[in-house]
């Protein structure tokens, strides 16, 4: 495994940057630019690089879709949220007339994780293959259902003509898939979700989204610590604050930055990337959450440092 690229990082529902939010960013950046020497393009680039990400960028609004660059010719993805559509456009641009194969590992079957498939253009192209992996017995039925009338105008078989295949992954059993060793773990989420541990080329990647952690159960914690053990990167659902996750939003199936840091520290993981951002959070709120998460890691560190990132649409992390 070489790297990971995020195409969708928002939880529950895609969102878009509003005109008002963009205007606020521009005002703040222009205020910061007062008195600065911005005569050359290089000056402008330096100035923008010094601005907070919430002003000079945006976390984006597509729902879950993460690409794993294994170094092989096939494409590998986790989940088919709305981020699958821009990924598909990028794959089409690189197609050069050749047939393409896509391996897609599914965490679960809620809308925000499956809604991209009907708009995944590479699956419309004769000669291409899409292999969908998952531990849900209802995997194929759920993906077919979202394209049944009256929810969608074009049926699954009409649009894909047999190019989409399904492979069941028995939880807890290592499988060889897409050139990697792949193990799934049942997670606590309504309708169940599964975390993924990918191992290849001496690297370990964990994808654990839509997962609630019952703090009163030490055996649950131990299962996840073992699953995260020595990971080079853990992609983790940190949608809510800890207080919300165990009170007003208990049983909503999500976790917090606090639990993400703790599990990674206990597991000896090297890099935590929080994702599945709460759709009501604006860029400044996610920036603040990231700063707090890094500070928590710093003040609670007992061993090696844990790198902490917040995913955004377009972020690439080298493993």
């Amino acid at each position: 495994m070489k790297s990971v690229r995020f195409w969708g990082t928002r939880g529950s529902l895609p969102v878009a940057l509003t005109s008002a939010s963009l205007a606020d960013k521009l005002r703040a950046v222009l205020r910061a630019a007062r008195g600065q020497a911005l005569d050359s393009d290089a000056d402008i680039e330096r100035f923008l690089a010094a601005q907070p990400f919430s002003l000079a960028g945006t976390y984006g609004g597509h729902s879950a879709c993460v690409q794993i660059d294994t170094g092989g010719a096939d494409y590998v993805l986790c989940d088919m949220g709305s981020g699958l559509r821009p990924f598909g456009q990028a794959a089409m641009a690189r197609r050069a007339g050749k047939a393409q194969t896509f391996h897609i590992f599914m965490s679960h079957l809620h809308w925000d994780h499956i809604m991209g498939l009907p708009f995944f253009v590479p699956a419309f192209i004769p000669g291409n293959r899409v292999i969908v992996y998952g531990s849900h017995r209802e995997l194929e039925a759920a993906l077919r259902r979202q394209q049944e009338p009256p929810s969608f105008p074009v049926g699954f078989d009409t649009i894909f003509e047999g190019r989409v295949e399904f492979r069941h992954l028995e939880p807890g059993v290592p499988h060889e898939a897409a050139g990697m060793r792949v193990t799934t773990l049942l997670q606590r989420h309504t309708g169940d979700s599964y975390g993924y541990r990918f191992e290849a080329g001496g690297k370990v990647l964990v994808y654990s989204t839509d997962s609630e952690h019952p703090l009163a159960d030490p055996s649950h914690t131990e299962r996840f610590v073992q699953f995260f053990r020595d990971a080079d990167l853990v992609i983790f659902d940190a949608m809510y604050s800890l207080a919300d996750a165990i009170s007003v939003k208990a049983d909503w199936g999500h976790s917090s930055n606090v639990v993400g840091v703790e599990l990674c520290q206990l597991a000896g993981a090297r890099h935590l990337c929080v994702t599945h951002h709460e759709p009501v959070f604006d860029d400044a709120a996610i920036d603040a959450m990231l700063a707090e998460t890094r500070r928590l890691e710093e003040i609670t560190r007992t061993g090696s440092a844990l790198q902490v990132s917040a995913a955004y649409d377009g972020l690439e992390i080298v493993l």
Partner: protein, 127 residues
């Protein structure tokens, strides 16, 4: 972690010392929740003196959440006092500073929940 308790008039003060982590949180739960039940039944206040707490994990914070819910449901007062700077930051990052009332000192916390408890505390300090 060590835990002691001290009564001040109608209020119980619980004093944990050390790290409340994934292992020791169960000890806090075993001591605290029976006291919460007793206090809730009597509608008496309970204060946690955190001056000696160096760290608290999510599992420890969960115990505080249970205590806060039970005390709130009973209409009884619950306070946390004298957070060390690291613990204060953990409270802020986890948003537990919005769940629990935090006072700078034990004296402040007792004053908020019970005049009699504050008077007893001050009397014992000066004796």
């Amino acid at each position: 972690m060590q835990i002691t308790t001290q009564p001040f008039a109608d209020t119980i003060v619980v004093v944990p010392v050390g790290r409340i982590d994934h292992r020791s949180a169960a000890d806090l739960e075993a001591v605290l929740l029976p006291l919460v039940s007793q206090s809730a039944e009597r509608k008496a206040a309970l204060v946690l003196d955190f001056a000696g707490v160096e760290y608290i994990s999510s599992v420890g914070l969960r115990v505080l959440m249970i205590a806060a819910r039970q005390m709130r449901a009973a209409g009884a007062g619950l306070g946390v006092a004298a957070l060390q700077s690291v613990v204060a930051e953990i409270f802020a990052i986890s948003r537990f500073d919005k769940v629990l009332t935090v006072d700078a000192t034990l004296d402040d916390a007792l004053a908020r929940v019970s005049d009699a408890a504050q008077a007893a505390y001050r009397g014992r300090r000066s004796s």
